[in-house]
Subunit: 437 residues, 2 copies
């Protein structure tokens, strides 16, 4: 929040960025010109490489000064999957606007990638940003993140089944490139889905250690989408309910239990290869290095759960509430034993365990949410479940297995979506470039 | 999040707490016995002094270890007013349940005070907490904050006008003790209030640097209220939009502008005395050392604002978006000059300035909020305005003055409430004790 330091750094960095940009053209400025941005356009359109060159330098300077974290937007995989789970989430689902064409979609992905490459480095969405442009035009950047560091922001972009083909047909000439695996999820026991909080042509997962940085990201990416895509639904989350590195302590969900003890960790290359990343040998080729994202908004019947006796809570989960140890003994990280009677056959830990599911594992990345309360005075709260897997069938198999989960009595799945998450963009390119190649 | 360290500390502290409690009885356990808490009751009812003795020791130990902050719940003033503004808010408004009596209200305030005295020190709501009680009973504490530090949590409790008298009359025998100043706010230009998001017999402002800690507080205090009061509405907020110490950088609201530059600061004893704290000479006597809280949920028309050119945004606010300096010159902390033409007569900074309002000042403590988006794809976002003042007339005068505010075009007041915030409780007592003396 050191205003003067940051402003100085941004200026220096933006100069670097503009210099770097001259040798790395990349992005269409078509969509941006559709916005009444005037003086800001030059900044927004300097090319996708710009944010990187300037951003990394800035990231390093700040890391030394403020111990802040900045993750590269470009790379083999998109950031925000194996990245150490941040503290805050703003997730957004978008639908493409009527009468948009293939070029609109490509330019949107290019513009999103360019802006994401900047804001993940703590920069504004363009070189002119919130206050550096023509004062007689609306600023490029909405400005509420001025002075804030990158805060570990990651932007992860996904493509829903409806993007490839919907009731309007093959709008973008990509129907034949749809991954066979990318289909709307089947109905599950316990589904009580709100269509207004499900699905979407596109999604953006913004995670950061500062909620204002995550909100700034979704707000500005929504704004950049103006005329091409619009927000369908969105969700804020906090207090990550999983971990992706062994250095992270296991957090607790709103049932008060540790969550994510047995999650796939970022340093487990073999598990990631087997369970998370789409392989080169998988179809389609443009998804290699990508993953499939499932989002489920899971409402928890908080007040009902809170009236359940401790021994029953433990039995439902199959773990001790305090330590997280399986009821078969040991500590949090002891493998549960299912042969005895200590762990109920329909406990959550047993039904979700790889041993009971042909070895299937998924990488979970959920967050707690509270959307105020309902008219009965009950908290509208729960778990915004996010998981990444190499094939959606992994999630489907696990979720079917959970149909007899003792926990089902205390939860309702109220939102759902699935998206193909392409591999990371190469520097100077954009997320999804392979789809249009 | 260091599980083992925290558990050890909690255990030690709880022992201290129980020891201390034997010499400081205080709280009714009536309401608690109404809950099916069984084994937890002993813990919940050990007395109000308990949390303090144990809590402060624990707070100190953790401060050294984790650089975490714990604020005393007890004191001359309630915490959460001049306390350095934390990063997160969970605000809750409650209505008393039908057929509750004076003893119910007193026991509720006692139980809230006891629990608050513990959780503000990073403890669970009772000595047995989430997992230390009888396993055949529901736990006292819902458990999601196990392992988390106090995170600067403050709990601030207020009494609405309807608590003193409503359509059911003088339910609690306190109508004649209602502060004359405590009346529902008059209608203002720009009001578009949702009754379901306004008013309330009681309110609790929970602020913390970790949203999970603030949410845990409201959830557990709501639970403790079971059968006596129920949640009427609640609001999460983030990214404080004011500051209360000169060490805090001025944060930005969702219009992208610095907010709170000229706020009353915690070290300005004279300004606090004149503008924030109810004086001993003010009526009624039981409010001396207290304050009046006004909450306004102010929706921002984000997408409309984002299309306004920078020069006009600056003119509307009367300050430069980047630096926060008044348009009459200088830097952020230069006093604005209204004699020239640089600052519009209807700019926000001018209309809200003490010079234009007979010297009136208020202590602001608002937060940004995002409640997802509406069906048009627009962010449901804005400012959850909270202000503390010695007399509600201060807010009323300022808000009337803002009727011609240029900013009005871009905001809607959608929620409103006012509460008398009693002085802090003495150690071993409870918030509001003076009202019933």
């Amino acid at each position: 929040m050191s205003e003067s330091t940051t402003d100085a750094a941004t200026t220096a960095s933006d100069d670097d960025a503009v210099a770097a940009a001259s040798s790395s053209p990349g992005l269409s400025r078509r969509g941006l010109l559709g916005l009444a941005l005037g003086g800001g356009v030059a900044g927004l359109a300097v090319g996708v490489g710009a944010g990187v060159a300037g951003g990394v330098a800035l990231g390093r300077a700040r890391a030394a000064e403020e111990a802040q974290t900045a993750y590269d937007f470009f790379g083999a995989h998109q950031a925000g999957i194996t990245t150490p789970v941040q503290e805050h989430l703003h997730f957004a689902s978008f639908d493409m606007m009527p009468r948009t064409d293939r070029d609109d979609l490509i330019s949107l992905l290019q513009d999103w990638s360019y802006a994401a490459s900047r804001i993940t480095q703590g920069l504004e969405v363009s070189a002119t940003g919130a206050v550096g442009g023509d004062a007689e035009e609306p600023p490029d950047d909405t400005g509420e993140a001025q002075g804030l560091p990158a805060a570990g922001l990651t932007i992860t972009i996904g493509f829903g089944p409806s993007l490839f083909e919907n009731e309007d047909g093959d709008r973008y000439g990509i129907a034949d490139r749809r991954p066979q695996a990318l289909e709307r999820l089947p109905p599950f026991v316990g589904d009580d889905l709100d269509p207004a909080h499900s699905q979407g042509d596109l999604c953006i997962q913004a995670c950061a250690d500062d909620p204002q940085v995550a909100v700034h990201a979704i707000r500005n990416l929504s704004r950049i989408a103006f005329g091409r895509a619009r927000l369908r639904w969105s969700q804020l989350g906090f207090g990550k309910t999983s971990r992706t590195t062994s250095a992270q302590a296991t957090p607790r969900n709103l049932f008060g239990f540790k969550d994510g003890t047995a999650n796939i960790l970022a340093d487990d290359a073999k598990a990631l290869e087997q369970n998370v990343w789409v392989a080169v040998s998988d179809e389609p080729g443009w998804m290699a290095g990508g993953s499939y994202l499932v989002a489920r908004k899971i409402a928890m019947l908080i007040e009902t759960w809170d009236r359940v006796r401790l021994s029953e809570q433990d039995a439902i989960i199959g773990r001790e509430k305090g330590s997280g140890a399986p009821l078969s003994g040991g500590d949090e990280f002891t493998e549960p034993k299912f042969s005895g009677t200590a762990i109920d056959a329909n406990s959550h830990v047993r039904l979700a365990h790889p041993d009971q599911n042909d070895g299937i594992r998924i990488l979970r990345r959920g967050f707690n949410y509270v959307d105020g309360n309902n008219e009965l005075g009950r908290l509208a709260a729960g778990l915004f479940f996010l998981s990444y897997q190499r094939d959606p069938q992994q999630f489907i198999a696990l979720q079917k297995r959970l149909s007899t989960d003792l926990m089902s009595e205390y939860i309702r799945h109220v939102g759902s979506g699935i998206w193909a998450v392409p591999p990371g963009a190469a520097s100077g390119s954009y997320v999804g470039a392979g789809l249009f190649a």
